[in-house]
């Protein structure tokens, strides 16, 4: 926990952010281009799905991010409610739009993949429905944070929603095992190891890393921005008090 406490200090956080941001940004661009190159040029077409399988390299990482970002928000919310970390609320607030964006991408690219493979843009099965619920949870979280005059109350309400809504994450993960579905079961994160060929697994994993790094870059910039906004509010209040 002491590590968290160290970096929960906003000034130390800003200093660290400014040093690591250029490096993470460079890594993000590099892994994104490496992943895209492999997705289009080194990975083969699927023996059943043909070239449409290339949608996987954006669809699956986007879906991983949808769940990863939500889990991060739930974790930050726990830290915010229990330890009152000054940065935890900011991290949750800054994450929500990014997670919503990735969830939208998972749904949209899924529809674009579903149409040629299943013959339908959308089916109301457990996997698709639970991800749609995840999307609404993100929207609800964003709305709640800004719904109160008192930011503190908004933060707390949104944190409670994020924690309660976390029950949806394992439901999404295991929905393909628990219910009948058109969606294919897990082929990477399995107890017995990935069942997907390395020529497809590598570009998928690299794209996954690239998306995660992208999240980190945008998250850090957004938290930085939030910290400046807090300072601005303080200044404005001081100006009003002086006049």
């Amino acid at each position: 926990m002491s590590v968290f406490h160290r970096f929960a200090n906003p000034n130390r956080f800003l200093k660290l952010t400014n040093t690591v941001l250029p490096w993470i940004s460079g890594l993000t661009v590099f892994s994104l281009f490496a992943g895209l190159y492999m997705a289009f040029f080194t990975s083969p077409a699927d023996y059943q799905q043909g070239e449409s399988v290339r949608i996987m390299y954006v669809h699956v990482p986007a879906a991983w991010m949808a769940m990863f970002v939500y889990s991060s928000i739930a974790f930050a919310s726990v830290c915010a409610l229990i330890w009152r970390h000054p940065l935890a609320d900011l991290a949750a607030k800054a994450s929500a739009p990014i997670g919503a964006g990735f969830t939208f991408l998972a749904l949209a690219t899924g529809a674009l993949w579903g149409k040629p493979m299943w013959g339908a843009w959308w089916v109301w099965d457990a996997r698709l429905t639970s991800v749609l619920i995840l999307f609404f949870l993100y929207l609800g979280h964003m709305a709640l944070m800004n719904a109160f005059e008192d930011q503190e109350r908004g933060n707390r309400a949104a944190a409670v929603l994020a924690i309660v809504g976390f029950i949806n994450v394992p439901i999404i993960k295991f929905s393909v095992d628990w219910w009948n579905t058109l969606h294919q079961p897990a082929s990477v994160m399995r107890m017995d190891g990935p069942s997907i060929d390395p020529s497809m697994l590598w570009p998928l994993l690299i794209m996954g890393v690239a998306f995660k790094l992208f999240y980190l870059v945008v998250l850090l910039i957004r938290i930085k921005s939030e910290l400046i906004e807090a300072k601005l509010r303080k200044y404005r209040r001081a100006l009003v008090d002086n006049t």
Partner: protein, 68 residues
């Protein structure tokens, strides 16, 4: 040329593959750009307020100097 056409047709799945990638690029870029724009705006406003503060301080000091 033929190779390019084959590449873009994506085995006749081009109408599904390319929109997927374009949409992903659009969403990620707009997330990044709106975030950067907000940071710039906040930084500019902060710089302005801080310059105001220093001007205020200078005035205060000058007034004090005049009075004494």
């Amino acid at each position: 040329m033929d190779q390019l056409t084959t590449f873009f047709s994506m085995g006749s799945y081009g109408a599904y593959v390319w929109p997927s990638y374009l949409l992903t690029a659009a969403v990620m870029l707009s997330l990044l750009l709106t975030t950067l724009q907000r940071l710039r705006r906040n930084q500019a406003e902060l710089a302005e307020l801080e310059s105001l503060k220093t001007v205020d301080k200078q005035q205060e000091l000058q007034e004090k100097a005049v009075r004494s």
